[in-house]
Amino acid sequence: MVVNEFNNKLIIVISGQAGQGVSTVESILTSILKKNGYNVFATKEYMSRIRGGCNSSEIIVSDISINSFCDKIDILFPLDKGYSSHLLKRISRDTIMIGEKGNFYPDHENIIEIDFSSIARKLGGNIYTNIVIAGLMLGMLDTDISISEEFIQGFFGKKDNEVIKKNIEAIRSGMAEGISLKQIKINIEKKEFVKTNLLFSGTDSIALGAIAGGCNFIASYPMSPSTGVLTFLSQQSREFGIIAEQAEDEISAINMSLGASYAGARSMVTTSGGGFALMIEGVSLCGMTETPLVIHIGQRPGPATGLPTRTEQGDLEMVLYSGHGSFPRIIFAPSTLENGFCITQKAFNLADKFQIPVFILTDQYFLDTYYDIEPDTLDIPDTGNKSCIIESNLDYKRYELTINGISPRSVPGYGKGLVVVDSDEHDEIGHLTEDLDIREEMNRKRISKIEEIKKAIIPPVLLGDLNRNYVIVSWGSTFNVIAEALKNKEFKDIALMHLIQVYPLHDSIPEYLKNKTIILIENNETGQLGRLLKLEFGINIEKRILKSNGLPFSKEEIEENLRIALRS
């Protein structure tokens, strides 16, 4: 018998049709493994359909955090006989397939046949198949059955005891199979502190960050992959006093949210590129009326409907130039889950402070990715009331001219004054005007806020010392995978400059890039950040690693492309 040994990490993929419960296995496995002290990472790729097709989830179990998508597959559980072409590319001769006879890819030799369905049927039906598979993995790894039992009780808590009992039996049956599986030996160390780590997704990080930022109003229209934020905040609506409304369209969503903000709510919208396109006039209204707003955009490939369930960093330029006329804005692109939480919270505070739109650019990969993080990395504010809203007096002027362009903001019903805002050019009170001198003064006032905004720019994240000859420039969700690739000693001459704030840009950027060979890495076809760096700083970038097939960069892909970049 050949024994396959896996040390320090194991990459598991579960594939199957939509509706077969690939995600269920993913969430049960990751949660239980984390609670046992294993570092876990999970991400999914799926088709735009409710049933059928071929979807897959990747789970990495490891003894140190590996929070990046990898192409390699150590163990594949096919729940179905269908394989997408992009999944097939990742299957090597070494990949062990575990599953039922009919589901193996033809001619694949490295297989372990287990009749999950018949085990499940003995328990009461095919419905338990997923749980048996999860149990098998839990048996192959060193896990405590009582942790699994407790988790299953919570997971199916709303169902009756019989259901819970059956599912625990399914876990036990799976575990028994896993323990008796001698062809695979896994050596991954568990860590006590990991047991109390937090396990959440990119979607959760944005929504939790919103709550931490005091968000109490969200109006949006469902659109993959951004809908999860609306769902999360709706679930927490009662607990945290959040109004979460599904609007009739994105135009209504942004206008509702602006109305709410005008009345003093901390408000946001969540959407994707196509939905945001509909909101753009509202962005301009936000700029003109100086009404704080946080706009979350979960990017996916366009143009138009594009690939609805896939990932891309393709909307930076649209967001950067969205809205007619000139007005300041901030654009963030969180790098990690911890960062997603902190940035979103910050977005609300800065929107309030500067009275501008603040954008958070994520993407499908970021939003659908889970991993465990240490609780201390989340910077929870001493919330209190940090609001910049003031009580108005009788002669209150909403657009009072000030040195830094920021006028004290009151809300209707708070004080003796009146709060007048207008999409037309307006005077200091807020009433519409066609006085061209006032127009110029007001336009300058709005634009001049940028100086104050610039004082708060988040500097780029730097990895590696400054003497290295190569510098990677990247932004947003690609951080972990690039950082993981750079651990490889081959790349000791490459540093990383990663941007979390993509607009306005920090003025230290040109200095870091001086006399270096720059390698641009972006998950889009045209290198949008690269073009922005050229525009803002005159920086020329020759080496570009770009990708726009709808999938995220894998660690192997970054490594391979860096090798090419170093050679050429």
């Binding site: 006093g241 609007a247 209504s252 206008n255 003093g264 209204l285 009326t289 009433h431 519409l432």
Partner: protein, 285 residues
């Protein structure tokens, strides 16, 4: 016009001399006065067009937003602070054309706001094109062979959607319109006032005297709870009925929101609960 607490004094008003909007402004101020609504507690929301300028001509909080988009911000404002009286006012182009979808869904959602549509059956600010309510055969520089689309019947539409309060008024009847408007503002839920008025510059068909000849008031004992009868009057071919067509008492949008169940405070007065947040974060362990 008798002075009211909403008067702004000698201001520049962008309406044509003789415009029906002056009467609507007058009606609005008097209705507010009689209802004793303080300017600080009032928010006027509007879109774009000549009618949408009305918030600038009286003392009030103002959100003068985008064309067609007066109802969504009005909904957001009222939901965020239920103590405010929120009135959305704009023209027929803004409310029925550009913003038609918002009107449909606001009727379903039923926020406690009053929607006043200044309906002069023409586009004024863009200089005389057909509006959604222009009558068939109405000729303009663009609709040179006359309008061929069926006119938008907001009253019938609203009743068909089981709207909470549906009325039509005429700017020429100050007192009667004021009474309709007062009831609309007082009504809990979405109230629609389709306010007909003449455009003296561009609409040479639907003039002041046309409205006089082609409208009538619903009888005093008209049963505005009878949806079918209300609909029947709304689609009447001969003359346009004025008055309150339909009232359907139901919960307002913001009163259905869980966030007000145990807490009356408007959102701007609320402080985030950090302990709850920590608890929520720990639930991800």
């Amino acid at each position: 016009m008798k002075p009211t607490r909403y008067d702004l004094g000698n201001i520049d008003i962008a309406w044509c001399p003789g415009c029906g909007n002056y009467s609507i402004l007058n009606i609005l101020k008097n209705a507010l006065d009689e209802l004793d609504i303080s300017p600080e507690n009032l928010v006027l929301v509007s879109g774009i067009g000549q009618a949408a300028k009305i918030p600038h001509y009286l003392k009030s909080n103002v959100f003068n937003g985008l064309h067609g988009r007066s109802i969504p911000p009005a909904t957001g404002i009222k939901a965020s602070n239920r103590n405010l009286v929120v009135i959305a006012e704009s023209g027929d182009g803004c409310m029925y054309g550009e913003g038609g979808n918002h009107l449909l869904h606001a009727i379903r959602r039923n926020p406690d706001i009053t929607v006043v549509i200044h309906n002069n059956m023409i586009y004024g600010l863009t200089k005389g094109q057909a509006s959604p309510t222009s009558q068939i055969g109405f000729k303009t520089k663009i609709q040179k062979d006359g309008v061929s689309s069926e006119p938008f019947n907001a009253v019938a539409l609203a009743i068909s959607l089981n709207a909470s309060f549906v009325s039509r008024a005429f700017s020429g009847d100050i007192d009667k319109s004021k009474e309709i408007l007062k009831k609309a503002i007082n009504h809990k839920g979405l109230s629609i006032v389709d306010m007909m008025h003449p455009c003296v510059s561009f609409n040479k068909v639907n003039t002041f005297s046309w409205f006089r000849e082609n409208t009538y008031y619903l009888e005093e004992d008209f049963d505005y709870t009878d949806r079918l009868k209300a609909f029947d009057r709304a689609i009447g071919k001969d003359k346009l009925a004025l008055g309150i067509f339909y009232i359907n008492e139901r919960n307002a949008f913001e009163d259905n929101l869980g966030i007000y169940r145990n807490n009356d405070l408007p959102l701007f007065r609320r402080i985030p609960d950090e302990d709850k947040l920590r608890k929520l974060i720990h639930s991800f362990e």
